[in-house]
Symmetry: C2
Subunit: 127 residues, 2 copies
């Protein structure tokens, strides 16, 4: 993987983003500082960064992949009302990989837990 300015900008933009953006959202933000960046470049780099373990790709939340600069073990929740994505502590499922590998005899390369429902704020608004 050679250096590329675009990749650096993409990673920095993702890092400065508190949410768990989709490619489309990142693209809209990147356009401000990098008006000539191509959507293909964005996708290519996001995939490369994920393959190299520098970021994480989150699938199964909604129709798009989301991206996360936090590679520490944690899981995700998407609110069906407001669409926000939240982190869930890995404490909810201790030793998940070891347990599963022991139980199945499979070798695990990637895994994720994805929840959807109603977040605290949206529950409050329903009262």
């Amino acid at each position: 993987m050679n250096y590329s300015r675009q990749r650096e900008v993409i990673l920095n933009t993702l890092k400065s983003n508190v949410v768990h953006p989709t490619a489309e959202y990142l693209y809209s933000v990147l356009k401000e500082t990098e008006p000539n960046i191509s959507l293909a470049t964005l996708y290519r780099n996001l995939n490369q960064l994920a393959e190299n373990g520098i970021i994480k790709k989150i699938d199964g939340l909604d129709t798009s992949s989301h991206f996360d600069h936090n590679t520490h073990e944690h899981y995700h929740f998407i609110c069906e009302k407001c669409g926000r994505v939240f982190d869930v502590s890995s404490d909810i499922a201790p030793n998940l990989v070891k347990k599963t590998e022991d139980e199945t005899g499979f070798l695990i390369n990637k895994y994720d837990i994805v929840f959807s429902g109603t977040c605290k704020d949206c529950l409050k608004n329903l009262e």
Copy 2:
């Protein structure tokens, strides 16, 4: 939801299927007995059945949704080598929903654990 013969056939086909098929695969099987069935009808019914809790839609395994007639709590593993989908016992993550709801204060409606890696058979073939 009114009765429809097509929906009944779709559900029966899914039930008699040991794998966790995609819509495309189900379509190819259904075509044999229901040559006029429409792909739109298949998708519409799979979604309806899932919304009504009669089947489960599994997302995040690969580029397509997979469908599962087994609605008991369990998780999934997809082998990156052979593409097969396996069930994983819910014992690997006890009290997952309660723990997560307690920890987050969110209301969980849907959740899933998805693993990918190499299955036992494919590991053996690598030796």
